[in-house]
């Protein structure tokens, strides 16, 4: 299906189980074959220049019916207020500046291992997470720095964690791919793709369990699961779509479809690349939204999170987005077409929001520049803080393996090992 994504596949109302999304008559008829399995077909299709561009046109893509109604009214009805606009802008700029600084630090050797950057996808994180309360939870993948930042984890804590210092959010024990924060309900940070989805489903399950069994009647916590296009071919994804719809869990499955899974193009890996269609197959609505536009994402997010909070069940949201950098800092990023990259660079979400804010007289250039400067200072300060922080002490190696450290068993003297005073000094034999 190398044709244009058909817009408008969303039903805000309770979704009838047997409905499938209709094909928009605007789809380009010439390449109508639904199966893109063979590489031969792929080469033929790709040979036409701008193929990708035509397929993912910048014109109106799916937004909810509710939003469409809003837009048809007169323009004074803006999508956001000034405060909200500035909040969104600041969050996206923080995400971008932070990730750029990560790249710098990595090449200077201060950060190591696997680092996956989020440049270009900020609209998805900001658009969704800024609508959550503190008790709502977020489960992410290895590309989780910005999710943690949007949820409220301080830049200092994340940067220290990346440097492997003891002041990091996980005291240096997690690393780039494993950002956890109990306070902000960031439940990781999972390295295996698809691993976070069942965990998120479980968190949503707890929310329902608390309400129904433990009788905490006002417990309406929502969980967001972020994952990529590659994950949508993994069995766990489907298992969880089934269970979430079956038990009507308060969860939103957010697909950050950036078209590439390391070097594997989504089209080469997927039989039906339109991921949002997989929602209705399991009895939940499937939405497709332009993930480079934070306002559109926010509108869809409001609907989906609202649905979950009201107890109407899960939603699958596919955000069409793009990562400006490679898969990770070790990825030479040779397979992606420069024209494709340029196309998306032109749709940078931060520039787009800036344009919106200024054109609609919500704020001035000066204000935005002030925010840019403030964020730069925050990020610089985070780096300084992380630099000056100490590395974890030797005794930290054995800590936190178990919540109940008796799990280390009984030492040669017959007492529990954890009771040995030398245990925490790191000098006891284990």
């Amino acid at each position: 299906m190398a044709t244009a994504f058909s817009p408008s596949k969303f039903a805000a109302q309770p979704f009838p189980l047997n409905t499938t999304s209709q094909n928009n008559p605007l789809t380009i008829p010439t390449i109508a074959s639904p199966f893109l399995g063979s590489t031969r077909k792929l080469i033929r299709l790709c040979s036409s220049s701008n193929l990708n561009l035509r397929r993912r046109s910048g014109t109106v893509v799916a937004v909810s019916d509710v939003v469409k109604e809003n837009k048809s009214k007169s323009t004074p009805n803006l999508l956001i207020t000034k405060e909200e606009g500035l909040e969104l802008y600041e969050d996206m700029v923080l995400g971008r500046a932070f990730e750029d600084m990560c790249a710098q630090m990595y090449y200077r050797g201060k950060m190591f291992g696997f680092v996956h950057l989020y440049n270009g996808q900020e609209a998805v994180s900001t658009g969704f997470i800024k609508l959550l309360k503190q008790q709502d939870s977020v489960v992410s993948t290895y590309r989780d720095h910005v999710h943690a930042l949007s949820k409220g984890v301080s830049a200092r804590a994340v940067m220290s964690e990346l440097f492997g210092k003891t002041t990091g959010c996980c005291r240096g024990q997690g690393g780039s791919m494993h950002m956890f924060s109990r306070e902000h309900n960031v439940l990781g940070g999972f390295a295996f793709i698809g691993e976070g989805i069942p965990v998120a489903t479980g968190a949503a399950f707890t929310s329902k369990y608390k309400r129904e069994v433990l009788k905490e009647v006002d417990c309406d916590h929502v969980t967001l699961a972020f994952f990529g296009d590659g994950t949508c071919n993994n069995g766990q994804f489907f298992e969880c779509l089934n269970m979430a719809a079956l038990w009507k869990l308060p969860i939103v499955f957010v697909v950050e479809n950036n078209l590439w899974a390391i070097g594997m193009s989504h089209l080469r890996a997927t039989s039906d690349p339109q991921i949002y269609k997989k929602g209705p197959a399991f009895g939940m609505p499937g939405v497709h939204v332009d993930g480079m536009d934070v306002l559109k994402v926010r509108e869809v997010a409001k609907e989906a999170i609202g649905r979950a909070r009201r107890g109407e069940g899960p939603t699958l949201v596919e955000c069409e987005t793009y990562r400006f950098r490679g898969h990770s800092l070790a990825d030479p990023d040779e397979l992606r077409d420069p024209a494709e990259k340029a196309h998306y660079a032109a749709r940078d979400p931060i520039t787009a929001l800036k344009k919106y804010l200024i054109e609609n007289n919500l704020t001035s250039e000066a204000d935005l520049k002030a925010i840019d400067k403030k964020i730069d200072e925050v990020v610089e300060e985070a780096v300084e803080f992380a630099d000056e922080s100490p590395v974890p002490p030797r005794s930290q190696l054995l800590e936190n393996v178990f919540a109940d450290p008796k799990g280390f068993g009984i030492g040669p003297d017959g007492r529990y090992r954890c009771e040995d005073p030398k245990f925490t000094e790191g000098t006891a034999q284990v």
Partner: protein, 374 residues
């Protein structure tokens, strides 16, 4: 085996009378008999009524009353919100349970057999075992994974593997393997109350066996400590360390050995991780000989770990090389006679014990049952 069959038949009619057969086991004042099935059921029941955060999840745990009837009656008592029948999706529901545990509810996940846990092992290890460490103590995972483990009767290669060694090698997990009803009750209660992920390895063939239980065991606050083994039978000539079903075999082997003048000490490991190294070492320092028995594949198994531990800590006390009895190094065959050959039998344990006491003739007969010595 005959003893157990006899006991089952006697059980019905002789419940009140301290059975004569219990003289073989060194339990104290055994007034009541309880099957493992009842022990597990009662432990789950009591823990669920004590703490409303505990819930069950698994295939057929609800309406079917449990694939092996362990969870019988619990659906009626606690309702479908606390006893969840899941679709056949181990990876999915295990992950869901782990995610729920992140928030402090206490799932007890049942795997129909631990062979199926291989589909979910990513969540057991990566999402459950490692999380307390990765999050530096912020998120603990109070979850229990339980189910039958090891060989059953005639179920073939894909349903017969023992996973004790695999799970026990992973830091962050606690791995328990009960033998008697007392073990089953005490360890399951301890596992459910424990704030860390616990893998609870039962044995299908033991479910119907009954064991004497004292009043203390029947009390609802009865709990056994995790990480401590139990000496089932005191002795002075050779230590036999085993877990799960093999403890029963070791006890029978000890009876046979007694007739030959060898006084064996039988240790019921109870806890594979953490392994009670100090008790095993203390026992070996007393007897100077060791035989480890397990049903699992020999390479990199629990017996290998015990042997390494003894060599590291009590080398000078050993009077003979450590004997490892394990299952045959083949996927479990189906034919009944082959299956019998692939699993350790009481005679193998007796022979091994005699070898450590330098009473045996030759080794070749035993090559297929001696771990790595083929």
């Amino acid at each position: 085996m005959l003893g157990i069959v006899r006991q089952k038949m006697l059980e019905q009619s002789l419940k009140k009378i301290p059975p004569a057969v219990s003289v073989l086991r060194s339990y104290s004042s055994a007034a009541k008999q309880m099957t493992i099935r009842d022990a597990l059921n009662s432990a789950l029941d009591e823990e669920m009524s004590a703490d409303s955060k505990v819930f069950l999840m698994g295939e057929e745990v609800g309406e079917y009353q449990g694939a092996y009837k362990i969870t019988k009656g619990l659906l009626d008592k606690y309702g479908p919100e606390r006893v969840l029948d899941t679709p056949i999706t181990e990876a999915g529901f295990t992950g869901v349970a782990v995610g729920a545990a992140y928030y402090g509810v206490k799932p007890v996940v049942e795997f129909m057999t631990f062979n199926f846990s291989m589909q979910a092992i990513d969540h057991i290890i990566n999402s459950a075992a490692k999380t307390n460490y990765m999050s530096s103590g912020q998120i603990s995972v109070p979850i229990v994974f339980r189910g039958p483990n090891g060989a059953a009767a005639g179920v073939g290669a894909q349903h017969s593997q023992c996973y004790a060694a695999w799970y026990a090698s992973c830091p962050g997990l606690k791995v328990l393997a009960p033998y008697s009803s007392e073990d089953a009750r005490g360890l399951l209660k301890a596992a459910i109350r424990d704030p860390d992920p616990v893998v609870f390895l039962e044995n299908e063939l033991l479910y119907g066996e009954s064991f004497p239980v004292s009043d203390e065991v029947l009390d609802s606050s009865f709990c056994l400590p995790i990480g401590k083994a139990k000496i089932e039978r005191k002795g002075k000539d050779v230590t036999i360390a085993a877990y799960s079903k093999m403890v029963g075999y070791a006890l029978k082997a000890a009876e046979t050995l007694e007739k030959d003048g060898i006084d064996a000490e039988v240790i019921n490991l109870r806890s594979i991780r953490p392994l009670d190294r100090s008790m095993i070492n203390a026992s070996v320092r007393k007897t100077n000989r060791l035989v480890t028995v397990e049903e699992a594949f020999p390479q990199h198994g629990v017996g290998a770990e015990i042997c390494a531990s003894i060599v590291e800590e009590s080398f000078a006390y050993l009077d003979a090389p450590v004997e490892r009895i394990a299952g045959a190094d083949v996927p479990m065959p189906y034919a009944a006679n082959l299956e019998r050959m692939a699993v350790p039998q009481v005679e193998d344990i007796v022979r091994a014990a005699k070898r450590t006491c330098y009473r045996s003739e030759s080794r070749e007969i035993d090559s297929q049952h001696c771990g790595g010595r083929s």
